[in-house]
Symmetry: C2
Subunit: 426 residues, 2 copies
Amino acid sequence: MQLLQTTDKDFSVKFQTLVSDRREATVDVSGTVREILADVKVRGDAAVKDYTSRFDRYNPQSLHLSETFIAEQAAQCSADVKAALELAAERITAFHQKQLPQDIGYTDTVGVKLGLNWVALSQVGIYVPGGRASYPSSLLMNALPAKIAGVERIVMTVPMPRGEINPAVLAAAQVAGVTEIYGIGGAQAIAALAYGTESIAPVDKIVGPGNAYVAEAKRQVFGIVGIDSIAGPSEILVVADSQNNPDWIAWDLLSQAEHDPSAQSILITDSEIFAQQVIAAVEQILTNLATTEVARASWQNHAAVILVSDLAQSIPLLNQLAPEHVELCVDNPQLLANQIKCAGSVFLGRYTPEAIGDYLGGPNHVLPTARSARFASGLSVYDFLKRITYLECNKQALQTLGKAAVTLAEAEGLPAHAGSVSVRLQ
Amino acid sequence: MQLLQTTDKDFSVKFQTLVSDRREATVDVSGTVREILADVKVRGDAAVKDYTSRFDRYNPQSLHLSETFIAEQAAQCSADVKAALELAAERITAFHQKQLPQDIGYTDTVGVKLGLNWVALSQVGIYVPGGRASYPSSLLMNALPAKIAGVERIVMTVPMPRGEINPAVLAAAQVAGVTEIYGIGGAQAIAALAYGTESIAPVDKIVGPGNAYVAEAKRQVFGIVGIDSIAGPSEILVVADSQNNPDWIAWDLLSQAEHDPSAQSILITDSEIFAQQVIAAVEQILTNLATTEVARASWQNHAAVILVSDLAQSIPLLNQLAPEHVELCVDNPQLLANQIKCAGSVFLGRYTPEAIGDYLGGPNHVLPTARSARFASGLSVYDFLKRITYLECNKQALQTLGKAAVTLAEAEGLPAHAGSVSVRLQ
């Protein structure tokens, strides 16, 4: 953790270092991934089964999980968790349904009919990690927008180390309306989704988080299928005045730190005393936290506390950092929120810990990281829709517009473009 | 050109070959591009000037084009072309303004305030190719959606071989509201836009077509900045009955073929006689077309004519091909159009040659290629907007939702997530 003050002589240098700090692992797995993809492309199911046996020690007859198996496993999910997943799904659905856009269509003054139709993707793949990072909440956040968009085929892959699976993940899949599940993971799962195999029909887009192999596999199949963004380590920026309970803010900072040793938690405050209280509270919590190893690594190596003389100064800093999550723990959070231009999602006031948004606030928790909130957005219904535009001229409209099109085509040296218009004007 | 009939025994094999035909060049320029990017990142303007001198034989004192220079050059654009560009800009603007989306915001029954705000990107770069492929229409199609979205800084780069520039491109830049222009191109221009140099401030997203070096450079800087999709060779699929003038359809097919030897033109028709008439018309036009060399290569190597017994059969074929452009040259084009799920843009009826949409129909001409219309869409105002979601719980709302969030956090093994909520419930 480093403590910066805007009044420090070298503040802007140190802040720029923070802004340009790239926290992603740099292990190059591209060669291995390329081999796995090529193998699955050629050998299909046989290759997928080989890798599943080797990496996951799992040798099923069929990669496809039967409805009976899913129902049996999902039934082992506790009633509490099931109910919480249902509440989450309900709230996520309500928010994402409001994103459904309207088609555009009109006839202009020249008589040209034109428009834009939103069309759902036909089939998508949702990658769900196995083991420790197997989060049912992520499954809801990835699958529900697809379902709401109208995607007919929602295929999920989840690795099953030694045949084991988290019952909560299968319960979430049922709640989210997943239509097919395969017990596979890694680059071999991405390959199966992109190219298809004898038993798995290919999809048009793949979304969902995964390890370095999965991320690299998604990069390599991009173009053959669509992908969501490649998620980096999580980030939170908390803007807090001294009227907050330091304990609350410490928990918020650690809620991101516990995700990943490369996660980043930043506090911006106008009170040095409060800053020290939060730092002390973090240390106190770390002494007795099940995830302390990860959280401490993140806190020590990547956290920052920035002292400003006025919280208004937080805005330009925030817009440069473009963090995944922002908390505004102040009395009139809207005043600051209105000035935010770069952030994934914003949590307003003293009673909105970011974790509530991770589970059941309603907005999506798949958000841009690594400063990509400068140009990217969180996952949404729009990611599962396409836009098809259309244009219809009648004879008269073409007469009106044709000459200008011919002029431009000729200026661009494209005579067949010009000819396709002028031949209709004669 | 190959002629297929759906009644052929081997039709489905041949059609799948057509579907999976990847027409992109496979020259690997990634090493060269990586070096140029690294050099510009370190040496800034000096490196950009070196490459500009070497590749473009252009050695300006300043890379930035002055307003005086732009005005002087733009003034050389003919009045006809200028007027056509203005008409095009007006029509493109009218259509894209209708895309501007509405923010979402509401308070739900639990008392949670939540929503989604659309925010324009701050600064974008538009790459414009130089030389033969220097198309003022592409500049309009790339820059106007950015301007309409509300992007404040629209930076254009255009290579100037031996100091020369197409006056129409600068006239288009004026019409489109470009705010800065630099006379540079290639991977060095992409590097300057992504990393910034002493004289060029970096942007957040780069769009626009370019050669293999530019495309590879965009791939490599993706993540540091946003990019649009990587455009492949152009494609047109024409569905036409025998009531069309074969000449008109031949011109339409050639209007894409003349773009690139790798472009693809496909005709689907239900009349063998008509098919032969179109093929003869293509050959006739090719005997006297300024772009015949390119168009003939495309036609010979990549074109297809598909005979169906009923035009309704064109729809499943079309949705598998997912072409960039579709023309429906039939009497009730809407009947077919309603069934299209995968296409970039659709042109309806006998008086809507695709070229009218290239210039001034209104919809964007930057469209998904290489079957990516299965998951991707044409350029739009949305590409220059971000979505920032927000959430605000009050004390009571957190009490209502908190327990379920704690349940899920604990189920996922994330105690700090749980703690950040439960500490506020006490």
